[in-house]
Assembly symmetry: C2
Homo-oligomer: 274 residues x 2
């Protein structure tokens, strides 16, 4: 597990709030500082990246050029902590359970509130995350091995380049879910319908073809078992933009902590929304 | 190649009629007795199975229960040779370039017209064929190896059972097209949109998992090369109902000859139509 590791997996035993707003109220009040998988399961959750406005334009272009790893759900006005298109009361300074603060690419703090750090030049980006498509797969009766094994999803750096923008560049990071071929075919169809949360897989089958030397040793997350008769299926992963941003070593960057997502009022069933 | 072999592949060099009606007129006049791939390429072509009404109900249920190999486009009224839902002037007795006539499961003749054989108890079934989805794949820039190699598509008996109805039963037959994983993922999405012409693949990857012992020796059609880094992708095949019908040894059955399809007025772009 590394500092930029992605979220842990959804588990069936998580408590569930009556609404996304109620979940955010608990988070805002400091009552919930853990990962958000399974909370308000009908609602879209998002990865958060907050950058100074001087870098925001480059990052926005990076997302536009790499929509599979960086499916952009919302961008704030510079200096405005609210995200009205995702929910009327969302304040990005308080509504994520746990943040990470990075300076020059180094992790320096993990606060539960970033009000004290807020600056008039910060721009918030919210990117789609795999919770939404994992929910769709689970609802379709497709077993997610890492969920059954109680592990984080396995993630790998690939040899697939992203399209650079300004100082943002680097390899695509993918998540891997092993499936039987018939489920892989269904999973392609299901996830293709949700381009706002990574969309269809980028690869399936031989990991070496995308530069993964050892499927048993993921770069992030946990190894998961691939059973006989199964194929590894690879999706673009939200760790990609995190890795790309950290590699660019911005003077200041604030992200969500792994798995501690922003819960929005938007429904998975409404994806894609613009 | 066997007697129930499926159609040869589309090739770029085939002449093209101005309309489906014009192609049928040439066929009806005996001017075209060859395969129909590439003729009226915007139009849906169909596999043809003609059975006595006593068996038609079982076969209709078989198609209903096995829609991937048997995507039913039209069923005639008993004794009526016309198929008005597929085109105002379609006469199934004359509008297929070449027929095959089977008695008790044995091929006995290959006429270009079946007017002399017509009986008041015959029911015509028209089933979707892979020309339509191959067109969609080619239009999407996906290379079809068997087309490039100028071969028939490779087809295999599998260990996947169909759902029986009356005397109709037997294994699923699949066609195989090798592709790189990224193309396979796109091909799933493209073909899933056309359930009326076999729909999404039924398998990809290891052939042994569906009972194919030797991918280099297809049961029907020609072997095609699988290049390094490619996966075999398997679709339900219209040879399935042909094989199932022949195994049931009906007193009389008339089908199209391999590749010599019925050209309809319906457009591929209108699929699915009901």
């Amino acid at each position: 597990m590394t500092a930029i590791d992605s979220s842990p997996s959804a588990t069936a035993e998580r408590p569930s709030f009556a609404s996304a707003r109620e979940a955010r109220q608990a988070i805002r009040a400091g009552l919930w500082r853990s990962h958000t998988s399974g909370l308000a399961p009908a609602n879209v959750q998002g990865n958060v990246v907050i950058l100074p406005v001087a870098l925001a334009s480059d990052f926005l272009r990076f997302c536009q050029r790499n929509p599979k790893p960086c499916p952009l759900l919302a961008v704030s006005e510079p200096g405005d902590p609210m995200l009205p298109t995702l929910g009327a009361d969302i304040d990005i300074r308080s509504d994520v359970p746990l943040y990470r603060v990075w300076r020059d690419g180094e992790l320096i703090d993990s606060p539960a509130d970033i009000g004290a750090l807020w600056q008039g030049d910060l721009v918030s980006f919210v990117l789609g995350c795999s919770f939404s498509f994992e929910r769709a797969l689970i609802d379709a009766g497709i077993e997610l091995r890492h969920v059954r094994q109680g592990r984080n999803v396995a993630m790998y750096r690939t040899n697939i380049p992203t399209t650079p923008a300004g100082s943002f560049r680097g390899p695509l990071v993918v998540s891997m879910r092993p499936m039987k071929a018939a489920d892989a075919i269904r999973a392609v169809q299901i996830t293709a319908r949700v381009p706002a949360v990574h969309g269809a897989p980028v690869h399936l089958g031989d990991p070496a073809l995308i530069g993964i030397a050892d499927i048993g040793h993921p770069d992030f997350g946990d190894p998961v078992d691939i059973e006989p008769g199964e194929l590894p299926v690879f999706w673009a992963c939200g760790v990609t933009p995190q890795a790309v941003v950290m590699a660019a070593k911005p003077a200041l960057c604030i992200t969500h902590a792994p798995g501690c997502m922003l819960i929005t009022d938007r429904l998975n069933s409404d994806l894609p929304f613009a």
